[in-house]
Symmetry: C2
Subunit: 221 residues, 2 copies
Amino acid sequence: MSIPVKPIAAPATDTSASAHDRVYRALRARIMYGDIAPGEALTLRGIGREYGVSMTPARESLRRLVAEGALSLSSSGRVATPELSNERIEELAALRALIEVELSSRALPRAHMALIDRLQAINMTIAEKVSKRDAVGYIRTNLEFHRTLYLRAQAPAMLAMAETVWLQLGPTMRALYGRLRRTDPPQNHRLIIAALKAGDEPGLRLAVRSDVTQGLRLLVV
Amino acid sequence: MSIPVKPIAAPATDTSASAHDRVYRALRARIMYGDIAPGEALTLRGIGREYGVSMTPARESLRRLVAEGALSLSSSGRVATPELSNERIEELAALRALIEVELSSRALPRAHMALIDRLQAINMTIAEKVSKRDAVGYIRTNLEFHRTLYLRAQAPAMLAMAETVWLQLGPTMRALYGRLRRTDPPQNHRLIIAALKAGDEPGLRLAVRSDVTQGLRLLVV
DNA sequence: GCGCTATGTTTGTGATCACAGACATGCACC
DNA sequence: GGTGCATGTCTGTGATCACAAACATAGCGC
């Protein structure tokens, strides 16, 4: 009998081969974590070349990202990561507040000590990324903090909605980081953890709302 | 052999030819307005044949709808309109409440008499659809009522989010209509209009929340 | 020098094809 | 008559090709 060998090792991010899915996930991560600047253009053949696939999977992944609002499709089909207007940013921040406050509220009754420990560990990683001036790492770890909390809410549709908003804000968040000069210890995160420990729902809602809203406020000129 | 090309659906809905966009819009409308039953399967070649295009645009439109949560992609790629669990329905109803209450609240200061007249006219159409037992027409007109109000909020990202939720609930809404036996005059819609007239924000928020939540409650067994 | 055009390149779009997996049907064999 | 295997069809996936529009550039004429 032959052992089923998976030959590809290096680029295999997942066992799920499905070329377009691989490309989609890679691009999605890059966009959400601010690895691509706002206004940057993407071409089908360029993506295909970069990930070693043909135009078909590249096109599907780009179109999927456009559908989720992560990329904006200019006239004549050119796709690029969007440059958000101030009104748009305000809207997206309001959506983050609405959805994430609800998610945190639903997570509160299920938040045990293990979760809080995990959140504190993530918080230390955030502080480390900040001190290293690692923008992409900071954004990714910050979102990981939120995702870890919201996963406890057992509300996949809401979490997906929140992640869609993150995705739309991704390229803009990087620009935010540029203005965020000072080493910003995650003060609101500490408030969130304290509220979780105390089982204080109004405090939790307020802390999450502040955390979500405050950062984006810097971006609106 | 010659394949008879039959122009089934609305010919030339828009000047934007773009085959995949035509297919996408047509399918999206059918799904959102409950024209497709939950669990119904769609095939690439079937869609292509139906709209007179090849597999490529059909695939792109299906994939876009999957990305928006309108269709669920089973293992091995088969796509079908999803059968929602009760938890999922509750989540989506909560999302509707969150987003649409905010949208109505933002629309309130901009709601002039012309808008209210328009909403009342739509309301009469709804009553007519109900009396005719026209499920698809009822759902479409009901959503038109909400969309007309929310357009005034000047918040395109939020409105898009709300429409995505509608899309996900589309196939299920039709099932809802089956259980909604009685001729249901849009009582909550009247409350919404009254609150708009009075400039009563708390009342408006409550009325919208009730309208959005109430219908879906019937669906959760 | 300046403006316009012609052309060559790059882009997205859509059709077609080859392929592999899933699924069902049916036939042969026990 | 029942079980198992084979086959044939139907499915999505991905690559390739032909085509048209958009864009940039170089060249020409004035």
